[in-house]
Symmetry: C2
Subunit: 215 residues, 2 copies
């Protein structure tokens, strides 16, 4: 089984490495980071580079495909080379997945038309013009398409997926070995429960950024 995690300029590092860490522990899996060209790819803040060990052309038919999010997703979602690779890879994949605004890239490739999907809470509305049906759930399965909410949700998605691919015992083993027993000191991880002023500030800021992009 081959698992490909797509990197592109200005991806968000935890979007990629969260699911990587868990999925790469699937027995018998080969997990590979891919990008348009092999070599270092920089994250959204420019302060971290992950190495793509292979180019897209070298990994045409992964069984599981993971697209992380990040500010660069708004460029990647219009990149002909990335979209062509996604469509080809998806044609033979067992699972096609995304984390955060990675779902915008999948949707940009036309892969989420008429499908239930999720994204970062600030980007959910952007799925609509791309033909997907946004939901506020953390991990959404629709056929072989699996989308996860913002950044850290890729870890939950990976556990769900491992359960489907290899069974509960393997998923529980990987949860135990990565000691994924979350104990956040605050309950602010979703817009439903974070302090209202913080949510409002970021909704406002996000709308302004989108408005500027559309000007």
């Amino acid at each position: 089984m081959q698992i490909a995690i797509l990197l592109y300029d200005r991806f968000t590092s935890l979007d990629a490495v969260g699911p990587f860490e868990l999925l790469a522990r699937l027995p018998g899996a080969e997990t590979v980071l891919v990008a348009k060209e092999a070599g270092p790819v920089r994250n959204d803040q420019g302060n971290l580079a992950l190495v793509a060990d292979r180019s897209l052309a070298e990994v045409p038919r992964p069984d599981i495909l993971v697209v992380p999010g990040g500010p660069g997703s708004r460029v990647a979602m219009h990149d002909p080379e990335i979209l062509a690779w996604l469509r080809t890879a998806d044609a033979s994949s067992t699972w096609t997945t995304s984390v955060c605004t990675g779902s915008l890239v999948l949707a940009g490739a036309g892969l989420l038309k008429g499908r239930r999907a999720t994204s970062h809470w600030l980007a959910l509305d952007e799925l609509v013009p791309l033909g997907a049906e946004p939901t506020g759930e953390r991990v959404v399965f629709d056929g072989k398409y699996v989308t996860a909410a913002g950044v850290s949700s890729g870890i939950d998605m990976a556990l769900h997926l491992i359960g489907r691919v290899a069974g509960d015992a393997t998923a529980q083993t990987i949860q135990l070995l990565t000691e994924y027993d979350p104990q956040p000191p605050y309950d602010a991880g979703s817009p439903d429960r974070a302090p209202a002023a913080i949510v409002a500030h970021w909704r406002d800021r996000s709308e302004k950024v989108l408005a500027e992009q559309q000007d």
Copy 2:
């Protein structure tokens, strides 16, 4: 504020990138991945390389120091160059932290003597001969020394630390933007609650590995 995350051969990727993703969002922080030499550093499975943007010599006095774990920690904890850097960096750090078996490296540098500390659940006992007092908690503060349990626990540690450094509202903001609202589909993330047979298998395997190393 400068945050340095140490990389070494055969580190575990999520140990480093979990806290990186949250800490790097601290307003005004410069976050930098460091290693003995600048350049790509490979993880425990050999299937991911993160780039160290600077050498240890270039980052002598970080304010916050993060040491991830991984199988390579058993080598790093005896590496004179890494230990010397840790001791020097610790002499002026505000916070000295670790994730998973990164605590063995801190302890190897003599920094956890007489201190309460944690590590991956399978490595807790190894802290004892190094002079630390292991606890089963997920995140342990003892003065400026903060240690976290296995792999994914670095995310919880980062949120605790951000709260201390920048206040609750900043920590809640970062939790919201990374959508850290964990919903694991299993409750197997700690040895207290994972299926007993899985826990026993890994305890047994871990003891055999340690016994072989000591032969």
